[in-house]
């Protein structure tokens, strides 16, 4: 296996999306769906490069940091 990241080909990505859209009964993906994982989010994430995933996560983390405790502050 290559030790360097490489993107999924268009065909591999299409197959991955199909598996996430229509989980096979008894699959890990179906179990995750039942557990509460939002599979549409995973589809969206798979389309991104690792650098784009990091940027998105950094934005989300910054937002979470900004609103942390906001409900408590409003309640006071």
């Amino acid at each position: 296996m290559s030790k360097r990241w490489h993107p999924l080909t268009a065909e591999q990505l299409a197959r991955a999306e199909e598996r996430l859209r229509h989980p096979q009964p008894g699959s890990r993906i179906e179990a995750a769906q039942k557990f509460g994982v939002d599979l549409s989010l995973l589809i969206s994430q798979l389309r991104l490069t690792p650098a784009e995933r990091v940027r998105r996560a950094l934005d989300a983390s910054a937002t979470a940091e900004m609103v942390r405790g906001a409900a408590r502050r409003v309640a006071k």
Partner: protein, 162 residues
């Protein structure tokens, strides 16, 4: 939390490190949000010195050490620790010499891939190994990530999903 700056500081100093934990999950496509970053580091004298020098400007201190107690940040502190949990100007940074379910740095590096992210080329655990490490760690917050990570692996048909 200045995650990217933490990565830049280590990377630009030529530190041997692998991104593990929550940010590794993010690199693989998880939507997990975390406010700290975990690195596995090579516990050689030279590497510990590079880490100490790279993070010194950000005033690292052990998280669980009272502010009033003296703390020496140097290569020896790092070389003597297996898990070093720090607070710093960059936010919480965890440095681990070993990873549950995988082993020490050389084992971790062998189970890692090189990824373009954080405006650098960084190493992170490959997805099967990240899953193994989370399972071995066994804490609720680790196990909670497994369904998502296993879905990513299965979606890509067991290939390294990107």
């Amino acid at each position: 939390m200045r995650i990217a700056e933490a990565v830049h500081a280590l990377s630009d100093a030529g530190v041997d490190f692998v991104i593990i934990g929550g940010w590794s999950a993010v690199l693989h496509g998880s939507s997990y949000i975390t406010s700290d970053i975990d690195f596995c580091f090579a516990r050689t004298r030279e590497n510990c010195k590079k880490i100490a020098d790279a993070l010194r400007p950000y005033h690292p201190r052990l998280r669980d050490l009272p502010r009033t107690l003296p703390f020496v940040w140097d290569a020896t502190t790092l070389a003597n620790g297996t898990v070093v949990t720090l607070d710093s100007d960059l936010g919480p940074v965890d440095l681990l010499a070993e990873v549950s379910g995988i082993g020490a740095y050389n084992d971790v590096k062998r189970h890692s891939i090189r990824v373009p992210a954080f405006d650098r080329e960084v190493w992170t655990l490959d997805l099967p190994s990240l899953i193994a490490s989370k399972r071995a760690a066994g804490r609720a917050k680790d196990l909670q990530l497994l369904p998502e990570l296993e879905s990513l692996l299965e979606a890509a048909g067991g290939e390294q999903p990107e």
